[in-house]
């Protein structure tokens, strides 16, 4: 066994990142953990309650409903945005001036602040003065997102698709352009159909970027707050109250700090678990 001289200087090199992670992740998270096991009535007086809040949240119908809505919403937007994004990416030009035009147009929705997106769609979809709302009603559809759950859902989904499909397009497009031209040429020589080219060359080659796209869209849509909050405020009734809206209502509206903290930890663990399962499952055959 050879003796190596101890050198503790390396700790200084990792220090900045340790401090950064501590302040932006570990400490806030631990604060939440702290709240989640205590009861408070203000005045900085806390009582230890153990896992009581976790039990309460997990058994509450309100949480079940919000979670159900959340999975439904995320499922719908993923089912629309991923295929749509891939389809748009496939239709985009590969060279020439069209590339930059398409890329800029695609990036625009991503550059708009989230609450502005909510406000835009709020006005756009107003049944009496909004372009979308008024047009739909003029065409004979009974559309009013402030009163009908279905209209509200359709509007929230349309808004999310409008806002975020671009991200999928950009990722898928990057994946597509990374495929060497020779593959397509080889497929042409083999006499492969357009569907086979997509199925056996483009899709497998896009697997990694699509995995990333699905993960990002899953996490983001699962945490959606600002846009539906500005658009519908969670209504009509509670029909568009997703997990994060419910969480804010509980923490700030009712000032139930303990249950809200417990709920955020459960919320966080669900996202972590689903993402991990998805990633391990799709990547198990890679290397």
């Amino acid at each position: 066994m050879s003796q190596k001289a101890q050198n503790n200087k390396a700790w200084w090199l990792v220090m900045p990142v340790v401090i950064l992670v501590a302040f932006n992740a570990v400490i806030p998270l631990m604060t939440v953990v702290n709240y989640s096991v205590q009861e408070t009535f203000g005045d900085n007086v806390f009582f230890y309650e153990g896992l009581k809040w976790f039990g309460q949240v997990l058994h509450s119908e309100r949480f079940h409903e919000a979670l159900g809505r959340q999975f439904l919403f995320t499922g719908i937007v993923l089912l629309i945005e991923i295929p749509l994004g891939v389809a748009i990416a496939l239709a985009m030009p590969r060279k020439g001036i069209g590339v930059s035009i398409c890329l800029v147009l695609m990036s625009l929705p991503l550059l708009i602040p989230w609450n502005v997106v909510g406000a835009m769609w709020n006005i756009f979809a107003l049944p009496d003065i909004g372009l979308l709302g008024k047009t739909l009603n003029a065409m004979g559809f009974d559309y009013n997102y402030t009163r009908q759950p279905f209209s509200a859902w359709a509007t929230v989904v349309a808004m999310d698709v409008w806002h975020w499909t671009s991200l999928v397009v950009l990722l898928a497009y990057a994946g597509l352009t990374a495929i060497p031209e020779d593959y397509f040429q080889a497929a042409r020589i083999d006499g492969a159909s357009a569907w086979s080219v997509f199925r056996y060359i483009q899709l497998p080659k896009m697997k990694r970027v699509l995995t990333i796209a699905i993960l990002l869209r899953f996490m983001d849509s699962f945490m959606i707050y600002t846009e539906p909050f500005v658009l519908t405020g969670g209504g009509p009734g509670n029909t568009t109250t997703f997990l994060s809206i419910d969480l804010v209502k509980m923490a700030l509206g009712q000032f139930d700090l303990g249950p809200a903290a417990a709920m955020s930890i459960i919320y966080f663990l669900i996202i972590l678990l689903v993402s991990w399962l998805f990633y391990t499952f799709t990547m198990r055959n890679e290397n």
Binding site: P180, Q185, I189, Y200
Partner: protein, 355 residues
């Protein structure tokens, strides 16, 4: 089997990619397209394959004009510099893919795969995915796909360029054997003159979209019909210099001169371009036919048993290749010897007049 290009040219936008070219490729031999990158090798292959339609001219196969026949109906196979396989198919399914598309039955496919896999040493890898293979094995898989297709025309576009040296040598030896009995017309593109010589067969020297010369590889090498063709077929590049013939004597502007004997004697007096390959410009004389020039060393590269010296002679950079290790300092003045028996002589129209 014959493949003929008749006056084929390709112009895209205003840029000429291929100047009018006629080629009669030879059956049962390797037809090598030799040229630097952008010389037009790949474009020419794409035209042969039918992936690109020539602006003018025709492509004939077995006495039939196939210029307008789309690639799917031509029965061609192509292997690229990049290792192209279906990423989520096993090696077995990859090799099977062209035959499946042709609608062959399972038994035939299975037999063919095992025969080819045996030939290409892929048998232990048949059930692996392409990304689990080494570069050499991936390229073997691509070659296997080309072989089982039993294509009439096989296009190999620098298939060895991305392999390491040892694998390249190994596959280079095997390639002619593999395709000898396939009955296919084989076209092979490379940037390396030595590769063309090793593969034998026939070669076309390409330069900037023009086929300069086509013929048996050895002839193209030893009797390049123009200085450009000689340049394409020489690595390191051939040395070219102006030489003047008068009174039965060649003289270089660098001062050296030698008697024009034999065939050379019959040449009319005047200006010529003399070409001699780096290994005919040496640090030591080769008998009494060598002439001496004085040179200033620019750079010396020693690769094991050979030394390459870049030296300035009368304002031009020449390259000399000698046996043995010679370390020379930059700026040092040395004597170089031209082996005048090995000189190629080109006239003022750049045509070979003496070899």
């Amino acid at each position: 089997m014959t493949l003929q290009l008749k006056n084929v040219s390709l112009v895209r936008d205003t840029e000429t990619h291929i100047y009018p070219t006629s080629l009669d490729l030879v059956d049962g031999q390797f037809n090598t397209l030799l040229g630097t990158t952008l010389a037009g090798k790949t474009t020419l292959m794409r035209i042969m394959a039918g992936l690109e339609r020539p602006t003018q001219g025709q492509v004939w196969f077995d006495g039939e004009d196939i210029t307008r026949v789309p690639v799917q109906k031509r029965n061609v196979a192509m292997v690229y510099q990049q290792f192209i396989n279906y990423p989520n198919f096993t090696v077995y399914d990859n090799i099977a893919s062209p035959m499946k598309l042709l609608g062959k039955d399972k038994k035939t496919i299975d037999d063919a795969i095992h025969r080819v896999a045996d030939l290409l040493k892929l048998t232990p890898m048949l059930h692996r995915m392409p990304n689990e293979l080494s570069g050499g094995q991936q390229q073997r898989t691509a070659l296997a796909r080309a072989l089982v297709k039993e294509a009439r025309l096989v296009l190999l576009d620098e298939p060895l360029a991305n392999l390491d040296y040892k694998l390249r040598e190994e596959l280079r030896d095997e390639l002619p054997k593999l395709f000898r009995h396939s009955g296919a017309m084989v076209v092979y593109a490379t940037t390396e003159p030595s590769e063309a010589l090793l593969l034998g067969g026939y070669s076309a020297a390409l330069f900037e979209g023009k086929v300069l010369q086509f013929g048996p590889t050895v002839d193209v090498y030893s009797k390049p019909d123009s200085a450009e063709s000689a340049r394409v077929f020489s690595d390191p590049p051939i040395n070219l210099a102006k030489v003047n013939k008068a009174h039965g004597q060649f003289s270089l502007s660098a001062g050296a001169g030698w008697a024009a004997n034999g065939e050379a004697h019959a040449l009319p007096d005047g200006e010529y371009t003399v070409g001699f390959r780096p290994h005919h410009l040496t640090l030591t004389p080769h008998g009494d036919t060598s002439v001496k020039v004085s040179a200033e060393v620019l750079l010396t590269e020693i690769s094991g048993s050979e030394s390459t010296v870049h030296a300035v002679v009368d304002g031009h950079t020449w390259i000399s290749l000698s046996h043995g290790v010679h370390s020379l300092d930059k700026g040092q003045t040395i004597d170089l010897f031209i082996d005048t028996r090995k000189c190629l002589m080109f006239d003022d129209k750049d045509r070979l007049v003496l070899s």
